[in-house]
Each structure stands twice: as C-alpha cells, then as structure tokens.
C-alpha cells in the first residue's frame, strides 16, 4: 500500500489551517486509492502536534524533531522528504502553496524526478492517478492538470480549497533521522522577523478578509479596516495602490504580484477592482464591494455592493454588526 505524504506547515508548534485542510484532501484521495495518509512534521514540537494531526486524518506521522529543519534554507526539508520517499512507497506529496514550501516542492521535484503542480483547488482520481483542478488567469479559466505516469506526484494545495474535517483518529508517530548534506547547510537562517499581528488571522487562511485600497485616501483608513476586521475576526488585506503608497505593509497586498486569497467572504472598500487585484481575490466565495464609483469594475463580480462613501458606510456597518452580535 502506498503512502500520500502531507508536508505539514506549522508555526510556533501549531499546524497551520492549510495543513489540516491538506489532511482532508489526502483522505478524500485515499478513500479511492486505498493509500495511507502520512503527515510529515519537520522541526521541533512533533509530540504535541501528533494528536491534532491524527484527529484530522493522519494515520501516521513522520517526525524529524530537530532544530536543523529550520536552521538552513529549504534543503533540510527537501532532504527529509527525500529520505522518506527513497525508503518507502510514496504515491504523492501534498504541500501548502505558500512561498517557502513551493521552493521545497521545486527542489524535491528535481531531486526525485517528480512533477509539480501548484495552487490546486480540487483533486480527483482517474486510473489511480491524481487529476488536479487549478484556476489560472486570476480565476478566469479553470484547468485540469496531471503528473506524467511513473513520476512522483507533488501537489501544492491552495488555501481554503478544502474544509478542515475532524476524523477523531489518532496517528502512529515514526521518528526519522536525517543526515544533511553539506549543500543543505550552505544557506543559514540567522534570524526570523515576525511582523504579523498576533490577534488577526493570516489573510491566506482567514475565512473573512477585509481589504482596503486607494479610496481610503490615507494610512488612517486602515485603522477603520482593522476595526471592521476585528468585529468579524477577519484578516486585513490591501490593494497594490495602498501598499505602494505605504499605507499598509507589502506582505498584505492582495493581487497578481501579491497574495492570492480565497476566503469565504471578501469585503473590499475603496478598491476599484483592477484586473491585477482581481487576480488575487476573484475566487473568494462571496465578494462585497464598497465604493463611491458605481462604475468600478469590482461591482461586476460583487455578490453585494454598496455604492457610497466608505467613510460613511463602514462605520455604520461596524455599528450594525456589533448590534447584531448583541
């Protein structure tokens, strides 16, 4: 029986939401193929995380509980995965389509002669092989891709494409030991600068994202966005116009050259919806637009639009939402 490996993305000892979503995706595939779902935990903290991974569908956890996993750039993770793949029977590797994990996938793809597909929003099985659905050109085109026969399937899952499902299971933990090559130690991580707000979810993972654009007019406008976000437990994003103006940090930029997000609810204020922005949010399940220009292209993709002054509408919305929460 083959294994589907799920590379667990984690922060501060806790699996990120994408990791639990990937375990569900792997289980859906395994229901057809009969494969075993095995989580791969690279870094310290595996003992505490194993129960969570088991409860979300991992039958097994490969754990390399070593600070070396994150002390060097990318290659320790590649070599850990490679050691599992070389020593076992692996049909597919799932990874979260985040910046740094895409590098792991690319290098692994070359090392093991696999095929890599990123940003996958759906998985089916045909003749025992994966069929990956992926949306391109900012969600305007829906495509199907596959990895060539005989090659390891290395599949990057998009955030929020699969729900988190608790299976209530438990996982067997297999400790692995990885001897890093000299090349893997060539680039060192000397420090990690955490800038993200601890009390707001990452926009890639958040169920609700509140985004602000040029129409905010100034940096202060983002305090209003944050206030709205905090009523909803949402993350805060920005259009490129707003990050270029220096009103909000670049890593919150949603769009073609920034983050691609797919929340269940996106609320854009003062964002016209240029194609570059739509490329990063068009696949959101529900889109709300607040803009004073009735001709703004974002209204064409909005499920609910308010034509009006955001500085009048958003404070009122915050009031209304607070009242409804009671």
């Amino acid at each position: 029986m083959s294994e589907i490996l799920v590379l667990i993305d984690h922060s501060e000892g806790t699996p990120r939401k994408i990791s639990l979503q990937m375990l569900n995706a792997a289980n859906q595939v395994a229901a057809t193929t009969g494969d075993t779902v095995a989580a791969v935990w690279l870094g310290e903290g595996s003992a505490d995380a194993a129960a969570t991974l088991g409860a979300h569908g991992a039958a097994k956890v490969y754990a390399w509980d070593s600070e070396d996993a994150n002390a060097f750039v990318t290659l320790p993770k590649v070599e850990a995965l490679q050691s599992i793949i070389d020593g076992g029977d692996v049909s597919a590797v799932l990874f979260g389509s985040g910046n740094h994990t895409k590098d792991v996938a690319a290098r692994l793809g070359i090392r093991v002669d696999g095929g890599v597909i990123t940003d996958v929003t759906g998985l089916d099985v045909e003749d025992g092989r994966l069929v990956a659905t992926k949306e391109v050109f900012g969600g305007a085109t829906i495509t199907k891709s596959r990895v060539a026969a005989g090659k390891l399937q290395i599949i990057g899952i998009a955030a929020n494409a699969f729900p988190v499902v608790e299976t209530g299971g438990s996982a067997d933990v297999t400790a692995i030991d990885v001897t890093l090559s000299d090349a893997a130690k060539a680039a060192t991580v000397t420090s990690v600068e955490k800038q993200a707000s601890a009390d707001r979810p990452d926009i890639g993972e958040a169920a609700i994202v509140v985004a602000g654009g040029r129409g905010l007019g100034n940096e202060e406008g983002f305090r209003l966005m944050e206030e709205l976000a905090d009523v909803l437990g949402a993350g805060v994003g920005a259009s490129r116009a707003a990050t270029d103006a220096g009103w909000y940090p670049h890593r919150y930029q949603v769009g073609q050259t920034g983050r691609t997000i797919s929340p269940t609810l996106y609320i854009g204020s003062g964002i016209s919806g240029a194609i570059q922005h739509r490329a990063g949010m068009q696949t959101s399940q529900n889109i709300v637009a607040i803009n004073k220009d009735a001709e703004a292209p974002i209204f064409a993709i909005a499920d609910f639009g308010v034509v009006g002054d955001l500085y009048k509408v958003v404070p009122k919305l915050i009031e209304e939402l607070k009242a409804r929460k009671g």
């Binding site: 922060s11 750039v73 910046n99 740094h100 895409k102 590098d103 996938a105 690319a106 290098r107 793809g109 070359i110 002669d113 696999g114 095929g115 890599v116 597909i117 990123t118 992926k134 949306e135 391109v136 305007a140 085109t141 829906i142 495509t143 199907k144 891709s145 596959r146 060539a148 060539a186 680039a187 060192t188 991580v189 990690v192 600068e193 955490k194 890639g204 909803l232 670049h250 890593r251 073609q256 050259t257 609810l265 194609i275 490329a279 709300v288 993709i301 909005a302 499920d303 609910f304 639009g305 308010v306 034509v307 009006g308 009048k312 509408v313 009122k316 919305l317 009031e319 409804r324 929460k325």
Partner: protein, 261 residues
C-alpha cells in the same frame, strides 16, 4: 562580478489571455506581449549591483524570435548583454523543464548571482528559481524583500506570511525578489537607444547540450490538459447609499442571512 537576470515575455495582464486549443499553452502572440512586470524589480536590483560594484549584468530569455523586443526592453534598463534561447522543441515545457534549460544556459557563464522575479504574472507557479538552484547545486535565496552583497557573502530577507527570515550564504547563489524590494526606475532614452546595439547571443537547445527529449510538451512532468472558462457569475445585489451610511444596514442584513455574523 557577473549577474544573470532571467526574464520572461508574458501576455499583458490587462489584455485578453488566450490558451491555444491545440497546444494547450498560453498563446503569447494572441494579445500584446510584454516584459513580465515582476522582472523589473530583479533588473533594478541587478542594475544597482552594477552601479555599486561594477557588476556585469546579462539578461536571459527563453522564447521565439519575435520575443526579441522583450529582450531589448530588458536591455534598455542599462544591462550589458543578453542570451536568448530559441528552439521549437521548447514549446509546452513545464516549470521544471524551463528550469532545466535555464540551468544549462548559465552553467558555463561563471556568474556570481542569478536574480529572478519571484513569479511570472501569467503562470505564477514560483517554481523556476528554486528548481534552477537545485539543478546547479546552489542555495535558493528566494522571495527577497531585501538583499545585500558584501564580497562573496550575500544576505537576503526572505518574505513569508508572518514577516521574513534573515538568511545568508556565500556566492554564487540564486535569488528571487518580490516587488517590495525596490522602486524600479524607467529606462532612460540613452538606455533605450543603447539597447539596440547591445550584444545578443541567440542559442538553440543543441548549443546548450540539452536534448529535445528532455523538454517540451511531450516530456513535461506536469501537464495542463483541459481548460474551460469559469462559468459567468450571477449578478449581485447593488444598493446605493444616500450619503448617510444607512445602506450599511442592508449589507449587515445580507451578511447575517449568509451567517457571517
């Protein structure tokens, strides 16, 4: 010091993007094709290395003969020359296939750094820089929001969801940059004129020692084989606010109905 900047010719984002029915690849001749906007940040970083430490900067482009305008555009920022890989057998290559061609093209160039844009605006896989690094056995210092070269040492701030990692290695290394890294300049008139006479070395796969059965659609490890336009979305509810913000109540009602509250 020698720096190579791989660049890509992509469909203009604002224009129509067309997938060729027969080849199932992006038809780059259907709309207006441009230098990938993300490449401008890589070029700017390379030009700064040229200004600060006299680096020689070479652009590298994979594409058909008519992509030469894109090469000249890249050169107009003040680069020293370019390599263009042109071969019919390349069509339909996946990201790892393209990485194999780039790695083969640069391996004898004695470079100190390769600086990519972190992604192209059409395919957006982000896979090529790290795959090239793997093929060359070099560190992949990607998603740089800051980079600094000091002698043979390079420091990069690698952006991620929560901030960035400060990483360092010795050169040579493969770097990719995100747009937060700099404010690209515009090409000068002098640069645009000079670009026309900068050396352009056109090579085939055979020149690189790459066999046609390693690349192209038939040898891609990952293939997109089916595509369809997204079904049109139903028109949403649009309400007009009277200037007092009262329309927010209708929005709040809708959000409550959808169970977001």
């Amino acid at each position: 010091m020698k720096v190579i900047v791989p660049v890509k010719r992509v469909p203009d984002t604002a224009g129509d993007k067309v997938i060729d029915e027969a080849t199932k690849t992006v038809d780059r001749d259907a709309g207006e094709a441009v230098l990938c906007p993300v490449n401008e940040f890589a070029i700017e970083e390379a030009v700064r290395l040229k200004e600060n430490s006299g680096a020689e900067v070479i652009a590298l482009l994979i594409g058909p003969e008519n992509a030469q305008s894109t090469v000249r555009k890249a050169l107009s920022y003040g680069l020293d020359g370019a390599i263009q890989i042109t071969d019919d057998a390349i069509a339909g290559s996946d990201a790892l296939g393209i990485a194999r061609i780039i790695a083969a093209a640069v391996k004898d160039e004695e470079f100190d750094a390769i600086i990519f844009g972190n992604q192209s605006t059409d395919a957006r896989t982000c896979l090529v820089p790290a795959a090239v690094a793997e093929l060359l056995g070099l560190p992949s210092l990607t998603y740089a929001r800051f980079m600094e070269v000091d002698g043979d040492k390079i420091t990069v701030h690698r952006e991620h969801e929560e901030g960035w990692d400060v990483v360092e290695s010795t050169l040579p290394a493969v770097v990719s940059v995100v747009e937060a890294i700099n404010e690209p300049r515009y090409p000068s008139f002098k640069g645009i004129m000079a670009a026309k006479s900068k050396p352009l070395d056109v090579k085939s796969l055979a020149d690189l020692g790459v066999s046609a059965d390693e690349v192209g659609a038939g040898n891609a490890a990952a293939t997109m084989y089916e595509f369809a336009p997204r079904p049109p979305k139903e028109a949403g509810t649009i309400v007009e606010d009277e200037g007092d913000g009262a329309a927010a109540a209708a929005l709040a009602d809708w959000m409550q109905e959808k169970k977001f509250v």
